[in-house]
Amino acid sequence: MENAFGQPQSVVVLGGSSDIARAITKKLAAARAHTVVLAGRNQELLNAAASDAHEYGATKTDTVLFDAEDASNAARTVTEAFEKVGDQVDLVIIAVGLLEDQLSIENDAQATARMAMVNFTWPVAALAEIRRRLVAQGSGRILVISSVASIRIRRSAYIYGGAKAGLDRLCDGLADSLEGTGVTLQLLRPGQVRSRMTEGQHDVPFTTGVNEVAENVMRGLGGRDRVIWSPPILRYVFAILRHLPAPLWRKIMDR
């Protein structure tokens, strides 16, 4: 069961070996999470994430392998993860994502479809099964990792940003659909984060490390705001940026 501060005891992380997911999982395990099931595509990385969770206090960890480029496995993956928890699931984190260099793939139909699949279609399919299971349970929380890239889409990352925007907006409606079910959905919108995914990119203003993101998540889980911004100031920064005239936006973001 989740406690009064939104600290869960059992957690499923889809995309559990990503750097942000690992940082969040550590903090959850250090708080109250005794059961952690991590799903991802690389067994070695999943094992490392699971041993992290153990080290930080989880007593039961398990892993599930899946490929986010094939949405037909989404329901099965969710089912397997829930069964490995073997009890109520308090929190499901969707941290599945793929960021490729836009300039080298933007004219490639297959590669762009792959980005849309991993960042949008697979998570949407997984959410359907997660929703069904948590609503039957009568409680639970879903945390979907979106991105500020979805708020105003940049020329240099419109495929990633567009897919995340689809997920972000869809989750807004999904969260509304959960009113009165005992289940809640929160969106995490981080700014640029230093991680494996963004390796080689230079820092933009408000770039943070993964630990700072995890701290903001812990704080957000304790409240009821639908959107968790990281760092929190980005809420206000993007309130302005999203209304900038397009030429100015292009000039600032795609120098």
Partner: protein, 447 residues
């Protein structure tokens, strides 16, 4: 049957359940036979997740009514869904009072048993369970009449058992004779914690009722300054025109959720300052009404909404007499972390009863209301748990919404005894609650 979102009084952990209101023992038994997971619920005054069960069935006891005539010896049999408020409305005009009342009248008798509630007279009279002569309980293996003489094990597993042994349907208890609806109160202000604690140790036994309000927001020399109020029921010749009137209905209410953050460390500091200054330095023999002495917060309906949407937690600890310094360290830790606490209540406990999961132990108890919000709060409370545990103390389940399951066994050494009794009457673990799941009270592996 309706699906409803249920919260505790602190409004922190909502969950959805099917809610039914059985009106008889037979209907309760039918539900226990039908459902896989069930818990009873009264007026929802437990602060955390004790009276809810996500995805399960919650049996409201509010249709289990009925009050017998009060015998000349003060013995009365009451439906478990009757509240202390309703019982008092019936009893006070006849010159009877409940033997133990918590800080609110809005609890059912069933809830009072499940939490084994205590009041300002614990140091002399013990908790609610001490005054229960007999009760009817429906368990998955049948309905029983139990008392300290008849199946004492099930009786004392049920007193303080958080509803996990069965659904109590009626209660027989012994009431307290009163001559008036007034209490004679002595009030005293203390500039620091040490002063109030030594006064309470020294002279509480002279008073039937005693409680101190402690300021946890002031640092330095006046850390833990306090207002001590102690009293006794007024005899007929203590007041000019003795009356026996039932408590009035609340006239004030909170119509909507206040913004989260209304109660922050600044506003609470201001409130505490005014509260402290408004109390007399020293006043003796002041007559007060029963409700203003026992249930001041009942004057404002839905006051929990003042804490806003994020809600609040209550933290109540008890420690043995020898560990009075734990109270000091706890208040010190809170005041130095800047976590806002409103209305910290300090009290002495007398001897414990045999309730296996009953909270009170002889010594001190401190209760704090804390708004959810400050980042430091979860960790501060986890640290306080360690402090309490190492002093041989415990945390009150009826208030809890955040304790870690790995500390429960050490705090409640009779847990295994409790589980034995529970397994006897509920071998399939049908009785369950979100609290029991969270604290692993009935064992995850058993389900």
């Amino acid at each position: 049957m309706t699906r409803a979102t249920l919260y505790g009084w602190g409004r922190t952990t909502p969950s959805i359940a099917e809610v039914l209101a059985p009106a008889s023992e037979v209907e309760v038994a039918a539900e226990l036979a039908r459902s896989r997971g069930v818990i009873a619920r009264g007026l929802g005054r437990s602060y955390g997740d004790a009276a809810q069960l996500s995805g399960g069935v919650v049996l409201s006891n509010l249709d289990l009514g009925g009050v017998s005539a009060i015998s000349p010896q003060g013995v009365v049999t009451v439906g478990a869904g009757i509240s202390i408020d309703e019982l008092l409305a019936f009893a006070i005009p006849q010159g009877w009072f409940v033997p133990v009342t918590p800080g609110t009248r809005q609890v059912t008798l069933g809830g009072a048993i499940a939490a084994d509630v205590h009041g300002k007279n614990h140091h002399l009279d013990g908790s609610f369970g001490n005054h229960v002569l007999e009760m009817r309980i429906v368990t998955p293996s049948g309905a029983f009449t139990i008392s300290p003489q008849k199946d004492a094990e099930l009786f004392w597993a049920t007193i303080g058992g958080m509803g996990l042994t069965g659904v109590v349907t009626s209660v027989t208890l012994r009431m307290l004779r009163i001559e008036t609806d007034q209490v004679i109160v002595d009030t005293e202000r203390f500039p620091d914690l040490e002063g109030v604690m030594s006064e309470m140790s020294r002279r509480d036994a002279e008073y039937q009722y005693s409680v101190a309000w402690v300021d946890c927001m002031t640092r330095g020399a006046h850390m833990g300054r306090a207002i001590l109020t102690r009293g006794r029921h007024a005899a007929a010749n203590d007041v000019d025109a003795p009356t026996l009137k039932a408590p009035a209905k609340p006239r004030l209410f909170v119509p909507f959720d206040a913004p989260s953050g209304l109660l922050n460390s600044l506003s609470v500091k201001v409130f505490n300052e005014l509260w402290f200054r408004s109390a007399p330095k020293h006043q003796e023999n002041e007559p007060q009404s029963l409700s203003s002495f026992f249930h001041p917060l009942d004057g404002v309906r839905d006051w929990n909404r003042l804490y806003g949407r994020r809600g609040f937690v209550q933290y109540q600890l008890s420690v043995p007499d020898s560990a009075g310094e734990t109270v000091t360290s706890a208040i010190h830790r809170l005041s130095s972390s800047g976590v806002a606490s409103f209305l910290a209540v300090l009290k002495r406990f007398g001897p414990a009863n045999p309730g296996m999961l009953s909270f009170p132990m002889p010594g001190w108890t401190l209760a704090l209301d804390l708004p959810v919000g400050p980042d430091a709060l979860p960790q501060v409370l986890d640290d306080l748990d360690e402090l309490v545990l190492s002093a041989g103390g415990r945390i009150y389940f009826a208030k809890d919404a955040r304790l870690s399951p790995d500390k429960v066994r050490a705090m409640y050494p009779d847990l295994d005894k409790f589980l034995e009794v529970k397994n006897r009457v509920d071998p399939e673990q049908r009785l369950m609650s979100d609290l029991a799941r969270r604290l692993d009270l009935v064992g995850r592996q058993r389900r």
